[in-house]
Amino acid sequence: MEQKNLKEEILRISGVNPRKCMKCGKCSGTCPSYEEMDFHPHQFVYMVESGDIEPLMASGSLYRCLTCFACVERCPRQVEPAKLIEAVRLTVIRQQGQNHLKPDQLPGMLDEDMPQQALVSAMRKFAK
């Protein structure tokens, strides 16, 4: 997809307006997954807005966001960074062969206490 279309697609499916961001960094200040990510919530907002989306798509950070919505809840400008991260992730996994998690990987990941909820959520988050 062309850069411009990619950005528009991400904005459309996320419903986020990154221009509302005032670059305070509260999202990244509150993110519990910060240490696990190479691109942080505020960078997602900034980079989507500036159209620099491919590095985000290639980044493992997409699979480290917990969708805990702390950034959404605490953002003073109601930018909703988690929705933007979700949209970038979807633009990746909606491509043929780009599922991050495949069903045949699952058996090796399970233990006897693992709740179904974990499998269902992870599959929904990481595969199409």
Partner: protein, 663 residues
């Protein structure tokens, strides 16, 4: 038949870029009664005015229509020009083709069409215009200042200095306001009390100024020059005249567990109290919510110890009725409540405080005697985190404010600097989004905090504060280094947004003064009339109009005083000529108009009328006092029989305008 001239202004390109001014002039020239038309680049210029004057003389015009900017801008200019050329100034009508046309449209064809329609409506009105003469009303040479903070104090002192009487109404037991709670003032670091209390004393000693402390405005009637205000003097259960302010009662009162609002609840006071040592008036007040005597009838200690016999448990609220020529609103601000910001743990830890609370715990008259100590355990904090913009600059859908509170960057720099100066072993972090320091010597002040005092300014925001084992774990972003920080702080200080005082909204309703969506009072013009409300006779001083620091507040307070003095210096005010009048033959005496009139301009009288059969009959009819009527038109729409009408805006004139638009 009127002889009407039409004058179409280009307003440079403001109008001409979107409206074909020549086409408008020509089209309007074909309207019935129009004997002259012209367009010109700047109708408001001297040259433009001369064109109007000359046309009036040369073409014997009886009326004029100026298609230009809003009548708020130049109606007066054009009316004066018309009067100078010998016709009554009320024979001039403005068609607003700028604010209501060119500025809000893009398409030239349709904008031109609309401009013609607006002009046509004005022409239709002029056909029904009649010369009007304005009456005069006297000015009560006394001003009311509502709010006794630094804004109200400065305005009152300046008005009194010009020789006029001023009353200050202050809802708290003392004047002084927020400034009396502040420790030092930026950027010069003078002690706030040292510069405020002399002014408070000046107020107390000034013969022209009366202070109604512990009082509130209860009702406002009247209009510019002639306000009638009812002031509720709340029962303080102490005779203000007898009380000497010795303070013995405040030491002996057995009820010691009252949260001390002057110290923002950080310590406790007695049920009878004087807020602080330099209070004006220095009079005790009994807090009825906590006084054992008032609640149970058993105590009376204060009364026993008062040598002056000033205690009066039976005191009731009283009302003072007074007349004023001008009213100044100086109701001030408050920090917002922070209970919606508990990611910062404000309600979960006593060591998370607001900046105003920080002022109190660094103030010599505060709960810690000026030593910086943690509210939880009274220890010295070794690591302090300041968080900027808490509740400011938010998106409109959130619980905060959309505006910048303006004062926080500077007072935080001050707090950080003073902490480092007094306690050099304390580490100080300031989390900022932007550092906003416009103002004389302001940026230099902030730079000193960074460069000379070693305050750590971190570009980023705190995301979570977690109280843990006596520490405050602060998780925050450092956007420049690209790190998430975890700081084990001892004290967290939140720069809470400021908002107008709660009393402002009901007061605005009483004064019929307009407010914005944030409850700040609106100015008559944001640039050119910044200290006046659009409601004549109402003036604005201090933070009730928008966030501002002390220097700006004092400047505005004096500007406000200058405007008030200008009004009070007049003996008479020219009234509005466009006043209501009632047709006695149509009036059925129902009193509806009297009830809706906000100015009390309508009264009823019994009048004898001759009937067609030559008998006489007494009927009750409305009569309008033209000196009091402000021409708001409420009565004309309320009148069920159509007896009420407004000079200059008669029902016929308005219908003619509507017809012209719909033609």
């Amino acid at each position: 038949m009127q002889r009407i001239g039409v004058f179409v202004c280009w307003c440079g390109s403001n109008i001409a870029a979107t409206v074909d001014v020549k086409a408008v002039a020509e089209a309007l020239g074909k309207e019935p009664g129009v004997v002259y038309f012209e367009d010109y680049q700047y109708m408001c210029s001297e040259e433009g005015q001369n064109k109007i004057k000359n046309a009036i003389r040369d073409y014997k015009l009886t009326g004029a229509v100026i298609c230009s900017c809003s009548p708020r801008m130049h109606e007066n200019t054009f009316r004066k020009a018309a009067a100078a050329a010998g016709i009554n100034s009320f024979m001039v009508e403005i068609a607003n083709i700028r604010e209501q046309c060119s500025w809000i449209h893009k398409d030239k064809v349709s904008a031109t069409e609309k401009a013609i329609i607006l002009g046509r409506a004005a022409i239709a009105k002029v056909h029904l215009n009649a010369p009007l003469t304005a009456g005069e009303s006297p000015v009560v040479k006394r001003a009311l200042v509502i709010g006794g903070g630094i804004a109200g104090i400065q305005t009152a002192l300046d008005i009194a200095d010009a020789g006029f009487e001023v009353d200050i109404v202050e809802k708290k037991p003392t004047i002084g306001g927020k400034m009396s709670q502040i420790d030092k003032t930026f950027p010069t670091l003078d002690c706030a009390a040292c510069i405020l209390t002399p002014k408070m004393v000046d107020v107390a000693q000034n013969e022209k100024i009366r202070i109604f402390s512990y009082s509130e405005v209860d009702a406002v009637k009247g209009f510019v020059g002639n306000f009638k205000v009812s002031i509720r003097r709340k029962a303080r259960f102490v005779d203000e005249v007898k009380c000497t302010g010795c303070g013995l009662c405040t030491e002996k009162c057995p009820q010691k567990k009252v949260p001390n609002e002057f110290n923002l609840g950080l310590d406790q006071r007695r049920a009878i109290y004087i807020p602080f040592a330099q209070a004006v008036p220095k009079v005790a007040t009994i807090d009825a919510d906590y006084c054992t005597m008032l609640k149970t009838g058993k105590c009376g200690v204060c009364s026993k110890v008062c040598a002056a016999g000033a205690i009066d448990y039976k005191q009731k609220d009283t009302f003072v009725e007074e007349e004023y020529g001008a009213i100044v609103v100086a109701t001030g601000f408050n920090p917002i409540e922070l209970k919606k910001y508990d990611e910062f743990a404000y309600s979960q830890s006593p060591d998370v405080i607001t900046s105003l609370e920080f002022e109190r715990i660094t103030n010599a008259a505060g709960p810690t005697g000026g030593t910086l100590l943690r509210p939880s355990d009274g220890t010295h904090p070794k690591k302090i985190v300041f968080v900027q913009c808490v509740g400011s600059r938010e998106d409109g859908g959130g619980c905060g404010k959309t505006y910048c509170s303006k004062i926080c960057c500077m007072y935080t720099a001050k707090h950080a600097m003073l902490t480092r100066e007094k306690y050099p072993d304390t580490e100080v972090y300031v989390f900022y989004i932007d550092v906003r320091t416009p103002g004389k010597s302001f940026d230099e002040f902030y730079r000193r905090a960074v460069e000379e005092y070693g305050v750590h300014y971190v570009k980023g925001m705190v995301g979570k504060v977690s109280p843990e084992n006596g520490k405050l774990m602060v998780r925050a972003s450092d956007l420049i280094e690209g790190k998430q920080l975890n700081i084990d702080a001892d004290l967290v200080v939140l720069a809470a947004a400021i908002e107008p005082d709660q009393s402002a909204r009901p007061l605005a309703t009483m004064l019929t003064a307009s407010m914005d969506t944030n409850d700040f009072f609106t100015e008559a013009h944001p640039k050119l009339r910044p200290v006046e409300s659009p409601t004549a006779g109402i003036f604005l001083s201090g933070c009730c109009q928008g966030p501002k620091d002390i220097p700006e507040t004092v400047a505005q307070a004096s500007a406000c005083a200058a405007k008030v003095i200008g009004l009070l210096a007049k003996d008479k005010l020219t009234c509005n000529a466009c006043v209501a009048h009632s047709s006695e033959m149509l009036c059925n005496g129902c009193s509806t108009c009297e009830k809706v009139c906000p100015y009390g301009a309508i009264s009823y009288e019994e009048k004898e009328f001759r009937m067609p059969d030559r008998t006489t009959r007494v009927r009750r009819v409305a009569s309008v006092n033209p000196a009091v009527c402000q021409g708001c038109g409420a009565c004309t729409v309320a009148c069920p029989s159509g007896a009420m009408d407004l000079h200059g805006f008669s029902n016929r004139q308005i219908m003619a305008e509507v017809d012209a638009i719909c033609k």
